[in-house]
Symmetry: C2
């Protein structure tokens, strides 16, 4: 008998993770480069983020979050908690910059970080090493890297939603069918 | 005084709509081509769709939904309801095909449909023309085209979510921060 394959949960496999991580810059580039600012600066009201804001946030993550935290785990384990991540850093760092410029930066930083990740040549024992999150507590390197992947996808989802919701009124009666507007999932 | 700009709702502008529509094939290509099947065939359980299923659905939309419905509106107005759309057509049509092949098809069909849309040279009066949806009733051509855009983004969001949720367990305690897994929006 063929064993049934669970298609709703994946164990973390580093080659599968980097397959997604390496595609995020080109995915966002294809979606956003050259798009009118009426789209790329749109948001969901209040303090919510535009696509422009999200790319700045992803850049900040490449600079201070994923690989720096991996190195803390590999050198200090859980003896030292990670630095806190500033979720609003991009509002200063991206000021006066253009979206194409930010997309270039993100692609360059991501490529360098994936080269660095590959150079670490992580073993399963490395992936099990413990770290300490300042709020969440005990985590592992494996969980950190899985979160890196999921965080990318979360922000691709967010950008898609922010863009789509600009047409919440324009779609008229179709609103009832569009989960991206109605807010339901499934 | 500079008038304040509403960044949470856009009126439908055809050049802005086609700016998104023309980017969807390359966005999905960048995200999915070459990705292991462990990702592209993953779904959310039960009758939910994988990325592979979604691309087949988008192909079927190019073939029988958007431009064919636009033509019904332009030729018959609301005198004739649109044909019903088969949301499960891809389960037959995509059988035995490969994802790269489907991505190629989607790109070719979308490019042809955008050329056809441009050739219609739609006026504002055309965009106001009425059509009749078999379930939703009275709609306009403008609403149909806005829905085409939003439908693309809905499925980019869906694919991102389906991929991310494969790591629902792998991310460990970070689950609490990842809205794509927890299901909350914002």
């Amino acid at each position: 008998m063929t064993p049934s394959i669970d298609r709703t949960r994946r164990p973390f496999v580093i080659e599968e993770a980097t397959a997604v991580l390496s595609r995020t810059p080109s995915t966002l580039d294809a979606l956003l480069r050259g798009l009118p600012e009426s789209w790329t600066l749109a948001h969901e009201g209040g303090g919510t983020w535009s696509a422009f804001d999200v790319i700045g946030h992803l850049i900040h993550g490449e600079q201070v979050d994923w690989i720096p935290r991996a190195k803390i785990i590999l050198t200090l384990g859980d003896a030292r908690a990670f630095d806190r991540f500033d979720r609003l850093a991009q509002f200063t760092a991206s000021a006066g910059r253009t979206l194409p410029d930010l997309l270039d930066d993100f692609a360059t930083l991501r490529a360098a970080n994936l080269r660095e990740l590959a150079s670490l040549d992580l073993t399963n024992a490395d992936l099990d090493r413990p770290g300490r999150h300042p709020e969440l507590g005990a985590v592992t390197l494996r969980q950190l890297l899985a979160t890196w992947v999921t965080h990318d996808l979360d922000h691709i989802m967010q950008i898609s939603r922010v863009l789509a919701r600009q047409y919440s009124d324009a779609v008229g009666p179709w609103r009832a069918y569009l989960r991206i507007i109605s807010g339901t999932q499934g």
